[in-house]
Each structure stands twice: as structure tokens, then as C-alpha cells.
């Protein structure tokens, strides 16, 4: 089954939150998910240690540059979705993980700084597509967005869309429940209510569904 790589060389873009939301929502919808923590800060591992892992999720910690390709190969089998959470730096680990992706998601806050640095991941994907002679599907998701879209957000989204970048809709909004995942562990369905819980669950589920549609669509090609 597909490998989804969450990549951006920008720290604090929301990679680990995106990975946890995607993994837990896909598992909640019935998929078996393997989550790989390739971030030296071990955000996914911290999340996993906070509470019982949701059903159908397993986690692999401390996957490094030298073993990323073979670790993905070992788990990239029919029957489970692999989600790779990467470190927020430009490293060889990132480029190797991207080479193994069926879909690369670049989380990006709707700021000029995030967009400028995040675009480097898109450039890398393009270079790897050429080097490996293989299409690497990729998409951008805006993270920590507000209910009212800023001019900056609209401008960046418009610019990316003009360049043909696939933007995942809905973006992941700034939600107390999303950040609380790293306090309580588990998923949105089991944690104590945080803010507008129903809105958070709906946002995460719609995001996961949008990713699933891309994976299913690509697989059907």
C-alpha cells in the first residue's frame, strides 16, 4: 500500500501534527497504518508515549538516513499505509524518503517564510522525478490556518495554484485539539474534549479523506 511522506525543510510547519492527524484518521476509517518517526526530536514517539496507540497503528522510532530506504521497503506492502514523518531540515534523509513516496505532503503555514522554505521541498521532488524518471505525486496542505483567510494566505495559495501545485482542501486549521494530541496521545476520538471538538474531528477527517482520494486516484492510474 502507499507510502505517504510528510516533508518540509522548514521546522514548525506542522509536519508531525499532520502525520498524527492523517495516521489516526486513516486508522479510524479502517486502514492499518505504520508511522515512521524520522525526526531526531521524536515528536511521533512522544505522541505515542503519551497514551495508548489507537487500533491499527504501529510506530517505528529513530529511522535514520542509512536505513530509511530498506525500512520503507520492509513495510511498503499491501495491507498497510506507511506514513513517514521527517525532520524539519534539508537533509539526505529527506531526499531518500521522498524517493520512496507514493505521495509527498508538504505542510505549510500560510506565511511567506514557510512558503519560501517549503517550496524547496517541491523543488527537490521535481529534481528527484527527473533523476529517477518517475512521477512523485505531491501536494501542499496549509496548516494552523484561521477561520478568516488572510491576504497573505490567499496570495500564497494563488501563487502555488498558478504553478500547478496540488493544494489539499480543507487546510488544517489552528485547533486546540490538534496541539493537545501531543499532550494526551491517542486520537481525536478518544481524547478529552478540547475547544470545538466536533469541528476539529470534521476538519481532520475531511483532510484524511482528501489524502485518501489522492492515494486511491493515483493507485488507480
Amino acid at each position: 500500500m502507499p507510502t505517504v511522506v510528510i516533508a518540509s525543510p522548514k521546522g514548525g510547519a506542522g509536519k508531525s501534527t499532520t502525520a498524527v492527524l492523517l495516521g489516526t484518521e486513516l486508522a479510524h476509517a479502517g486502514a492499518k497504518v505504520v508511522m515512521m518517526d524520522c525526526d531526531p526530536n521524536q515528536s511521533l514517539t512522544l505522541w505515542a508515549d503519551r497514551g495508548p496507540l489507537p487500533d491499527r497503528i504501529s510506530i517505528l522510532s529513530s529511522v535514520s538516513e542509512s536505513d530509511i530506504v530498506k525500512t520503507i521497503k520492509r513495510h511498503d506492502t499491501d495491507g498497510q499505509i506507511v506514513i513517514v514523518d521527517l525532520e524539519g531540515v534539508a537533509s539526505r534523509l529527506v531526499s531518500r524518503a521522498i524517493s520512496q513516496a507514493d505521495l509527498v505532503i508538504t505542510p505549510m503555514r500560510a506565511t511567506t517564510l514557510d512558503a519560501t522554505i517549503g517550496v524547496r521541498a517541491l523543488q527537490l521532488i521535481s529534481e528527484e522525478e527527473e533523476a529517477l524518471d518517475r512521477k512523485i505525486p505531491h501536494a501542499v496542505v496549509f496548516t494552523m490556518t484561521k477561520a478568516i483567510k488572510s491576504k497573505q494566505h490567499s496570495g500564497i495559495a494563488g501563487s502555488l495554484a498558478e504553478q500547478g501545485v496540488d493544494l489539499i482542501n480543507p487546510p488544517l486549521m489552528e485547533r486546540a485539539a490538534f496541539s493537545a494530541l501531543f499532550e494526551f496521545g491517542g486520537d481525536l476520538h478518544t481524547m478529552p474534549a478540547q475547544g470545538n471538538m466536533e469541528g476539529a474531528i470534521e476538519n481532520a477527517a475531511q483532510f484524511a479523506q482528501a489524502v485518501y482520494q489522492r492515494l486511491a486516484g493515483e493507485a488507480a492510474e
Partner: protein, 97 residues
């Protein structure tokens, strides 16, 4: 809102064939390096590991003996200290030390 807002059809999710050869990894590394995606993990120390033999004996022996010890060590591909250690072991066994 239902508890399970969408269903996953697992049969629609298939893995794609990816090139995992050493050549493909090399091409990936090269493509990344051009954009500043370089190796950032600490590299392993190069070269020979330090010997655990840190003790030292200060022995003068007859010229022929030193040559024989050196030749035997070279023949076996070990340090001269290994020969001395073995000799000491034999001496201890013989002497009951």
C-alpha cells in the same frame, strides 16, 4: 456527523514499484545535494579502531628472539603483544600462577 465519516477501500490502495537499487539511491542523493539536502547525521569515525592493548612491557631480549617474535606476529597477522600474552598464559599454566 457520523463516527466514521468515510470508508477506506483497501483494494484501491496499492504500492507502486520503486527503484531501490544503490544506483537509484545515489541518483537521489546527488539530486538532493544540489539543492542543499546533504548528509547531516554524524559520520562514523574512520580508520582503525584503537587497540584495547594499552599495557606495556619494557623487555629487552636477545636479537634473534626479538626477530623471531616479530616474524611470527607478522606471519599470523597479529600484534607482537599477542605473542607475549600467549607466552605469559603458557608460563602461568606451567607455573600454576
Amino acid at each position: 456527523m457520523t463516527d466514521k465519516p468515510f470508508n477506506i477501500d483497501l483494494s484501491r490502495l496499492k504500492t507502486r514499484e520503486k527503484d531501490r537499487s544503490a544506483q537509484a539511491v545515489e541518483k537521489t542523493d546527488r539530486a538532493g545535494e544540489e539543492l542543499g539536502f546533504v548528509a547531516r547525521e554524524p559520520q562514523k569515525k574512520r580508520g582503525r579502531k584503537p587497540s584495547p592493548r594499552t599495557g606495556q612491557v619494557h623487555a629487552k631480549v636477545m636479537p634473534g628472539i626479538s626477530e623471531e617474535i616479530a616474524n611470527e606476529a607478522r606471519r599470523r597477522g597479529v600484534q607482537q603483544g599477542v605473542i607475549i600474552e600467549e607466552a605469559w598464559k603458557l608460563y602461568k599454566n606451567k607455573s600454576g600462577i
